[in-house]
Amino acid sequence: MSTKQKTWWWIGGVLIVVYCLFPIAWILSLSFKTTADLANKQFLPSAWTWENYTTILTGTASDLFLPALRNSFGICLIATFISCVLSMFAAYAIARLDFPGKKLILGTALAVAIFPVISIVTPLFNLWRQIGLYDTWPGLIIPYLSLTLPISIWTMSAFFREIPWEMEQAAQVDGATTWQAFRKVIVPLAAPGVFTTAIIAFFIAWNDFAYGISLTSTSRARPVPAALGLFSGASQFQDPTGAIAAAAVIVTIPVVVLVLIFQRRIVAGLTNGAVKG
């Protein structure tokens, strides 16, 4: 690349980054503003304050926010874990075995993935109330699985297909059972795929609002996105914008941390060197 081309790439890149990160920067800035400062028509707060954070973490909003944070973590991690394990087996079967109905499974998974969530929320609400799943962790984990499983199966089966068949056959000849071959050879090779899938599944569950607001009513199971909508100001004349912004920042942190931790594991081309190359 010539210097000129490089310059253009840089300018383009910076523009895109600014465009994407601007709302986040704005929320960050809002979270440090005092209530009076919210509408000051300036990007930066005129006086920096931790007030909003103390409100949601220890102050009046904490009994709404903290349980929600715990719920969100618990529910999303469990949903991600179950979805990863299930999709790992499902995707392995889809990638390796030839069985009738394979296309049907993939098709159904895709159909479920594009099915509008909002149309199923109301019937689910009624059903959950009747069978006692309303406002419980499993009551959210189950619908979250329906969101995360299809995409997990699709991504994971793509990863499994990349792994040469011979790896497994070599392991079997070397004396491994099918299960050992899967565990000792296939799973480590598919690890980047598993982590990618886990992150995607976690995001989907973490970001959900429709199920979260409809299928919960108390802090027993209400996740953060739903809780954010229920924030109120100190008086009814006050906007809770600052507190919501602070909560949004806190909610973003685990996502960022997760990506930073796992990005080293999501190294494509781990199978390099397996075959002739």
Partner: protein
């Protein structure tokens, strides 16, 4: 160590196509058997049935006296080197080689001892802590071999192990495999489509065509007493020349003049309108360079040379000839089946490198008629095959093998003492 017996093995795929059709083959304990044939002949399928990666439709697979048809690969205790090596990329070379031992729950110090031995034999010592991705093609190949020999397997199976290497490395690895096999004295089945590998490595070679065994014999027997047109055309490079011929009395008349047959062979071929004469390139010679004493043993003919290729140590001349339509079509089919594309009917003859025969000129050639074979164009059968002579050649090869194994194992012991001794112990 074990012998491998196959009895009427059939492999039929879902669409009914028999990839392997009624194959019966006995591989003796410690023998180096080559499965060879053009692509799609079923050689890899057969190998995969031995190791258990492919189900057997019918027939018996007996390894070491035990029927293994229904055993999983891991229960057959065979080791295999795959064409693309199939190394585990997330493990170091050490762990790759140790993998079979780990699976059998071998104690750590035993693992270390055996991996060290194997890596000594294969000169992988300084690479043990590296990952396969950082190794060269030849090194990866050796790791794959290491994984195979580290275990006390009943037999080694190789599936075109050298086809991904460049020509020079292939030559080196070929001798390496040969040496290793002799030293360990372990039954080996080796699949290849490369006839150089087949001829140099094998004690016996099994030539397959469309899932059927054509001939199982020592390389020499295959070369000198091929059972049919297919084997004759497949073995040898450049390939055997096939000329159309008709029999008159005891003389074959061919595009290259008359070829006299002895009474015995003439009787064998009599009674057919059209025949195919198979002559290997080296049975020809520039007539002017032939010893006077040898000259009467063959016939002399004149032909126009199309192209000559001088290779330093040898020289090839291409002589076009006319053939009837049916023969041309049949030869074309044959060459297509042998994975080559012969566009014209021409004979490739090998002449002395000092010969002054030039392209585009007429020249006089001498043809050694003692070793020609005559084939039936319809069935492809070799009408002049001397089965006894063939059997003698294979018998000699068998004796050589026993001798070589003894020698290799004896000298291996003195050269690298313990290591080979342990391997031998391991192999028994």
């Amino acid at each position: 160590m074990a012998s491998i017996e196959m009895r009427n093995i059939v492999k039929q795929y879902g669409d009914g196509y028999p990839a392997v059709n009624d194959v019966s083959l006995d591989i003796a304990d410690g023998e180096f058997m080559i499965l060879v044939g053009p692509s799609g002949c079923g050689k890899s399928t057969l190998l995969r049935m031995i190791v258990g990666l492919e189900d057997i439709t019918s027939g018996d697979m007996v390894i070491g006296g035990k029927r293994v048809n229904d055993l999983a690969p891991r229960e057959r205790n065979l080791s295999m080197v795959f064409q693309n090596y199939a190394l585990y990329p997330h493990m170091t070379v050490y762990e790759n080689i140790a993998f079979p031992l780990r699976l059998s729950k071998t104690p750590d110090d035993e693992v270390r001892r055996r991996v060290t031995e194997a890596s000594d034999v294969l000169e992988l010592k300084e690479h043990l802590e590296r990952k396969p991705a950082n190794l060269s093609g030849g090194q990866r190949q050796r790791v794959a071999m290491g994984r195979a020999i580290v275990r006390q397997a009943e037999a080694f199976l190789f599936d075109e192990p050298l086809s991904n290497l460049d020509a020079k490395l292939r030559g080196q690895m070929r001798t390496e495999i040969s040496r290793l096999q002799r030293r360990l004295g372990i039954t080996t089945v080796y699949v290849t489509h490369d006839q150089t590998e087949a001829m140099t490595l094998g004690d016996r070679v099994c030539v397959l065509r469309k899932g059927k065994i054509q001939q199982v014999a020592s390389p020499r027997e295959l070369y000198e007493q091929p059972v049919n047109l297919f084997v004759a055309g497949f073995i040898g490079s450049p390939p055997m020349n096939f000329l159309p011929a008709t029999l008159e009395g005891t003389t074959l008349s061919t595009p290259f003049g008359p070829i006299a047959l002895d009474e015995q062979r003439a009787t064998a071929v009599r009674g057919r309108d059209l025949l195919l004469v198979g002559i290997r390139p080296e049975y020809f010679e520039d007539a002017s360079l032939v010893d006077e004493a040898k000259r009467p043993l063959g016939s002399v003919f004149r032909a126009r040379v199309d192209v000559t290729e001088w290779l330093g140590d040898s020289q090839y001349a291409y002589i076009p000839y006319e053939a009837p339509e049916t023969i041309t079509a049949q030869l074309r089919d044959l060459s297509r089946e042998l994975d080559s594309e012969e566009l014209r009917t021409q004979a490739i003859v090998s002449i002395d490198s000092t010969s002054r025969i030039r392209e585009g000129r007429e020249a006089e050639f001498w043809l050694d008629s003692r070793k020609v074979h005559v084939f039936d164009p319809q069935t492809g059968e070799n009408l002049t095959r001397d089965a006894e002579a063939g059997a003698r050649l294979t018998q000699m090869a068998t004796e050589d093998r026993v001798d070589q194994v003894q020698h290799a194992q004896a000298s291996g012991q003195t050269v690298s003492g313990q290591s080979s001794g342990a391997h031998r112990a391991g192999a028994v």
